[in-house]
């Protein structure tokens, strides 16, 4: 295993450094928390889009499902922090199992259309069952329970710093897990499916099985992100299951860079920060998002992270050239 693929190698260190630096460099800790939560959702989306080649407009279903389910079990059944998060993971995974099992029966544009129709159905279902979801008003007064392990309360998580540390720990665990997944034989098979589904199936992989597992993992992580978002806001809005949420998660993934997990932090960071900093100055900042989306697809297929990588490699090649020429002149 070389340095770049080992679990605690290069990229993981950069990710950990970002997690530590973000709350120091950014104007507020809450902003950093929001970035990490959406980075989780983008990372999960990346597993589907970047590694398996599946463009899903259904990520909002899992995000909203996680937010609603965690909120409901905390409000009505007095679930604690960990058990509420596990509920969200399970609900996200089950929703992804249902959506995935149906959607992967079609490919290409019809696959996209299926995820789109499920996304719309989820929204109208959430709107209809307003007794459970709060409808347009959303679910209010969602608690943020204390972090308790084996009966010992570690932190009440009420301060935004404490909650950030908790979210950062969750993110780090998921990040390491996701890297483990994509560098496993399972992950390389996903990439093979993305590159050439026909050939992967011809050499004997049951591609639908792999796609479905990718869906379930993605749904579980997205559900977890949704639950954390509800705890951050103390609120689970209907907009979580809107098509716009799915679009936003997709855009973060693409702008950050498809096919690189760390890109998801950059994508989520760029968009959450733009939303936070620009929306007060210039409410129409989404225009930039549209232009950025087009630019990334046409000119920067690796997204922000891909851009950074190629920039650094260009810089280092310039350095190498300089060294060479200086040696020659000697």
């Amino acid at each position: 295993m070389n340095k770049s693929t080992s679990i605690f190698g290069g990229v993981t260190i950069i990710a950990l450094a970002l997690i530590v630096l973000m709350p120091i460099l950014l104007p507020s800790v809450t902003l950093a928390t929001e970035i990490l939560i959406f980075a989780l959702a983008a990372l999960a989306c990346n597993l589907l889009l970047g590694y398996t080649g599946l463009l899903s407009f259904g990520q909002g279903i899992f995000f909203g499902g996680g937010a609603y389910s965690a909120s409901l079990v905390m409000l009505h059944l007095d679930f604690g922090l960990i058990s509420a998060l596990i509920t969200a993971i399970l609900v996200g995974a089950s929703l992804a199992l249902i959506v995935g099992a149906l959607a992967i029966r079609r490919t290409g544009i019809y696959f996209v259309m299926l995820t789109l129709s499920f996304s719309q159905m989820a929204y109208f279902l959430a709107y209809t069952f307003s007794d459970w979801t709060g409808g347009d008003n959303g679910l209010l007064d969602v608690p943020r329970p204390a972090l308790t392990l084996f009966g010992i309360t570690i932190s009440d998580l009420q301060s935004s710093e404490a909650f950030y540390i908790f979210v950062a720990a969750v993110f780090a665990i998921v990040f390491v897990f996701a890297r483990r997944v994509i560098h496993s034989p399972f992950g390389t098979t996903l990439v093979a499916i993305r590159e050439n589904e026909g050939r992967s199936s011809a050499v004997g992989f049951s591609t639908n099985h792999f796609k479905l597992v990718a869906f379930v993992i993605s749904g579980a992580i997205t559900g977890l992100a949704g639950a954390l978002y509800a705890m951050l806001l103390n609120f689970a809005p209907l907009s979580n299951v809107e098509l716009l949420m799915s679009e936003n998660i997709l855009i973060m993934t693409i702008i950050g860079g498809t096919g690189s997990l760390i890109g998801s932090i950059f994508g989520a960071g760029a968009i959450v920060m733009m939303g936070d900093l620009l929306s007060s100055i210039w409410p129409r900042w989404m225009m930039i998002l549209g232009a950025a989306l087009i630019a990334v697809v046409l000119f920067l297929p690796g997204g922000l992270w891909g851009g950074i990588i190629s920039l650094t490699s260009k810089l280092s090649s310039i350095k190498v050239k300089k060294n060479l020429t200086s040696e020659v002149t000697k």
């Binding site: 544009i109 129709s117 679009e247 989404m286 046409l298």
Partner: protein, 285 residues
């Protein structure tokens, strides 16, 4: 009884508007093999342009002609500068690029016309109500049905009886061969894209006096257009017409009973059709 008749006629009007939106999406997909996620945004832009045209000139008829032409021209420019660069890319990329275009159009519309919706009133000559026995119906809505039907007929004639239509149909089968036989497919593609998008703009203009103009309606319109195209069959003219009418009537009749239920039903139907009959009612395998 009259109430249901009223809802059904409303549904036909709505269905004709959905047809105009969807037929363009469908032809563009059929010929260009291109998925246009900006289609709803062009509808929105058409509606706003008609608002401006009406508020400047006070003449709805002028708006009805000028706004769709402007949209078609704008679409042509988009195609020449941006869209043509994406044809060879996978559908995923086409979706993302046009999603970006849709976002830009929507935000530009809000910058120009503000975040609060606008409304325009129907032309004076159509403000009245038509009475047949004890059934009353607004004249403008009848006009929409008639006008859309004429446009549908013209589009059908264009696709079925002219050389241009023959090229579009041939190109939908095999664009490469059409190109090898000496047709400038680039020009064919641009014109088809402009035509399809112009029809969406026209739908926006026709719908504006009935539904008003809301800046965030683009994605909703796009969603419905996809439902129609999927139910009718991608690339099929008849499919867009029948699909549009089905969706319009279902939405209209359900609107008094359970509006979210209507949306659940049509999106459910869309998923059902893709899973069981991906080529829709009138598409071919």
């Amino acid at each position: 009884m009259n109430l249901y008749l009223f809802q059904v006629v409303n549904g036909i009007g709505l269905g004709m508007i959905y047809f105009l939106i969807s037929v363009g999406l469908s032809i563009i997909f059929g010929l260009l093999n291109f998925v246009n996620f900006a289609h709803g945004a062009f509808y929105l832009l058409g509606a706003y342009l008609s608002y401006t045209a009406v508020s400047i000139t006070g003449n709805y008829w002028l708006a009805l002609i000028v706004a769709p032409l402007c949209i078609a021209f704008f679409a042509w420019v988009c195609e020449r500068t941006l869209i043509k660069r994406v044809y060879h890319l996978p559908h995923t990329y086409q979706i993302l690029v046009t999603l970006g275009v849709a976002l830009i159009i929507q935000e530009v519309c809000i910058s120009i016309w503000g975040p609060i919706g606008k409304s325009i009133s129907p032309p004076d000559s159509l403000k009245g109500v038509l009475q047949i026995g004890d059934f009353y119906y607004p004249q403008y809505r009848l006009f929409v049905i008639a006008f859309a039907a004429v446009v549908a007929l013209l589009v059908w004639l264009l696709l079925d009886k002219t050389k241009f239509g023959a090229l579009v149909r041939a190109g939908s089968e095999d664009a490469e061969t059409v190109s090898l036989l000496g047709t400038h497919t680039h020009r064919l593609f641009s014109i088809t894209f402009a035509l399809g998008v112009g029809l969406a703009g026209l739908a926006g203009v026709l719908a504006a006096p009935i539904k008003g103009i809301h800046p965030f309606v683009g994605p909703e319109v796009l969603g419905i257009a996809f439902v129609v195209v999927v139910i009718g069959g991608m690339g099929s003219f008849t499919g867009a017409l029948v699909g549009g009418l089905i969706v319009g009537i279902v939405q209209s009749v359900m609107s008094t009973l359970w509006p979210q239920g209507a949306s659940l039903m049509i999106y459910g139907a869309m998923a059902f059709v893709i899973l069981l009959r991906p080529y829709g009612l009138f598409g071919r395998a």
